[in-house]
């Protein structure tokens, strides 16, 4: 074990002794892959033939006109196979799993997007697959559970703790400390012990590399601001990495404001003042924790942002002020999503809608010479139940009641 993977004071590898050789092996495999140009070529080839890379950028002309101010561009990660940026990381780690000659993958999932992406990769590469998902999230994200199971994955509903993402991560680690010999843990975000934050950011950097070129080609200049939602932080790290050296581009990370500042019901680790530095889940970063260091319950309308910690790299960029952090409330998020659906026909996931909400708030105050870029990290098909509840759609409710009645009749007759 090397004492590496620090970004100023954040990061590290606080891992149980049993996993030390496993992390050594993973770090070596990752560093070898990084040095091997053929690996990245294989990755690009896979992403352009199995997923939909390069994903395009789209100008929201209706909303640009409606809001006045900056021209709003969107990077379309929703067009990846499985509908989110998660595929970028998962396919990369899948190639690495093959290199390490492991035959089984495990993953945690919050919104279910990472679980679906991992199950997809496992089906394609022929790995056994187990997905850990908080029981609360299994309830929220049934459609994703359905697809994971169809793809042959075992989905374990985690009933410990707050039954959300952090608890799923703990359970995945408990599996890994038993089965590390044949199993790779496909951690879904730029968090956890080194080398995960760096490795996941590397795979996701494909977003930023493409987006920078596309903006230059399309508009002849760099965007003034780039917006990304931040749960663990992988889509943000992905798009930001393309603009990290561009001093004139302001990077804006948008966290889950839940019920707002001071409500105690949110997942804003950097934008609000409630979090403090701690060490959990194998790394050091800002956590929403109490005075003793016990993790607190978080809240967000979006399962994927509902997490106590945040990428150590983003904590570092927060301290150096290279990224500005804001939070969008549940209400603002649902409104931004509806607006995007109604006027542009795009369907951003609730997670991604946090970035849209903040961009819509700021765009009118900018000039029409400014271009802004939003990372649409995923699409909202999975959110249909949550969104239907949020907008109180009566026809949807009737449909569900009728469907339930039909199933009940079927069961009674069977």
């Amino acid at each position: 074990m090397k004492n590496s993977g620090y970004y100023s004071q954040f990061g590290g590898a606080f891992i149980p002794e049993i996993l030390v050789p496993t992390f050594d092996e993973l770090e070596s495999a990752y560093l070898e892959a990084r040095d091997d140009e053929a690996f990245w070529q294989e990755y690009l080839e896979l992403m352009s033939t199995y997923s939909c890379r390069a994903t395009p950028i789209t100008l929201l002309d209706n909303l640009t006109e409606q809001l006045g101010g900056a021209n709003i561009y969107v990077k379309r990660e929703d067009l990846n196979h499985t509908g989110a940026h998660k595929a970028n990381n998962v396919m990369g780690q899948g190639l690495l799993t093959k290199r390490m000659k492991k035959t089984r993958v495990i993953a945690e999932t919050g919104a279910g997007q990472h679980g679906v992406a991992t199950a997809t990769m496992a089906a394609k590469f022929g790995f056994d697959c187990t997905i850990y998902m908080g029981a609360h999230d299994v309830q929220r994200q049934r459609p994703n559970v359905f697809w994971m199971e169809q793809m042959g994955a075992t989905v374990v509903a985690v009933k410990e703790g707050s039954q959300t993402l952090k608890d799923a991560i703990n359970e995945a680690f408990r599996d890994w400390v038993t089965n590390m010999d044949d199993t790779h843990y496909v951690l879904g975000t730029a968090c956890g012990p080194h080398p995960f934050p760096e490795m996941v950011s590397w795979f996701q950097s494909i977003i930023g590399t493409e987006a920078r070129e596309q903006m230059l080609e399309r508009t002849g200049k760099l965007p003034s601001r780039v917006y990304a939602c931040v749960g663990g932080g992988s889509n943000a790290m992905g798009i930001f990495s393309g603009f990290m050296d561009d001093n004139d581009v302001e990077l804006v990370g948008v966290e889950a404001g839940g019920r707002g500042r001071g409500s105690g019901q949110h997942a804003a680790r950097l934008a609000y003042d409630d979090a403090s530095v701690g060490v959990a889940q194998g790394y050091k970063t800002f956590f929403l924790q109490d005075h003793d260091g016990q993790m607190q319950d978080t809240h967000s309308v979006s399962a994927g942002l509902d997490y106590v910690g945040v990428s150590p790299i983003l904590s570092h960029l927060h301290e150096t002020k290279q990224v500005r952090f804001e939070a969008a409330t549940d209400d603002a998020v649902v409104e931004a999503m509806q607006r995007t659906v109604r006027y542009e026909g795009l369907i951003p996931a609730l997670e991604s809608s946090h970035a849209f909400a903040q961009a819509y708030k700021e765009a009118p105050m900018m000039s029409s010479d400014d271009n802004i870029l939003i990372n649409m990290s995923g699409r909202a098909d999975k959110d249909i139940f949550t969104v239907a509840d949020a907008v109180h759609d009566p026809k949807w409710k009737d449909f569900i009641i009728e469907k339930a009645d039909a199933y009940r009749r079927e069961m009674n007759n069977g």
Partner: protein, 260 residues
């Protein structure tokens, strides 16, 4: 580096003069209540336990299995704090004449301030700490503070640990080495086999410190197996399981069957 022998190591060696294997047990402070914790410790000491690990509950006990995981969660739900854990541990260390250790996760130390946590351990009479998510490479502050306080930082050997790493861990430890009998989390079954025997011999060859063996140790047969191969048998989840299934009063007779 010539290492001092801590008080913990000396008392383990002295106890081993009289017994061929020592028994260490594990409880989660504040589960099901602090009063119960005190009563269980009293019963365990009376039943002949030689040393004890007191776990300060943490919300994310990554290395623990279902039994201890639940005990952590329940203790916190009942409102257990780090201050209360220290107060209770102080009471136990004063009242009972066996060595007590803290087991907890690093965030508990980090949020208290590592040095002040260690000084506080010293002041209440604790003799060592086990912090399973703090490898030496991340824990220099902790190791320095423990060394200065003459307390024992205890590290873990596993069946995956290469011999060179065992020696490195041993160099950074005092008191004893905690060797886990198998992969996985606490509280699952272990096969007490010739394979385990080979591994324990390897552990022994790579440390001069006393050797404790835990994970899946739960019966007199398991302890018999460890006699001559280890200095300390660690019974963790099983005592908590006994307490849950049969009540606090059942712990003493259970321990007595182990040390008989």
């Amino acid at each position: 580096m010539a290492k001092q022998e801590t008080k913990l190591e000396l008392s383990i060696r002295a106890a081993r003069e009289k017994k061929d294997i020592l028994l260490m047990t594990h409880i989660v402070l504040g589960y099901p209540s602090f009063d119960d914790s005190l009563r269980v410790v009293e019963d365990m000491v009376k039943a002949g336990v030689d040393l004890m690990e007191l776990q300060i509950p943490f919300s994310e006990p990554m290395a623990d299995g279902p039994v201890i995981l639940k005990a952590n969660a329940e203790a916190l739900k009942a409102g257990a704090t780090v201050d209360q854990s220290f107060e209770m541990a102080e009471k136990m260390a004063k009242e009972f004449d066996i060595p007590f250790l803290f087991m907890t996760y690093y965030n508990i130390l980090f949020c208290q301030g590592v040095t002040s946590f260690v000084e506080r351990c010293k002041s209440i009479g604790m003799q060592g700490c086990i912090v399973p998510d703090l490898p030496p490479a991340e824990g220099q502050d902790y190791l320095d503070a423990m060394h200065a306080a003459e307390l024992a930082p205890i590290h873990i050997f596993t069946p995956n640990t290469p011999e060179q790493r065992m020696r490195f861990l041993s160099d950074n430890s005092s008191g004893f080495i905690y060797s886990v009998a198998r992969k996985g989390v606490t509280g699952k079954d272990t096969a007490f086999s010739s394979e385990l025997e080979t591994y324990l011999a390897q552990c022994r060859n790579n440390t001069g410190l006393p050797l404790a063996v835990g994970f899946g140790v739960k019966s007199p047969e398991d302890i018999n197996f460890l006699r001559g191969k280890a200095d300390i048998a660690v019974v963790g989840s099983e005592t908590i399981r006994v307490m849950e299934e049969k009540g606090v009063a059942a712990v003493k007779p259970f321990i007595e069957t182990l040390v008989a």
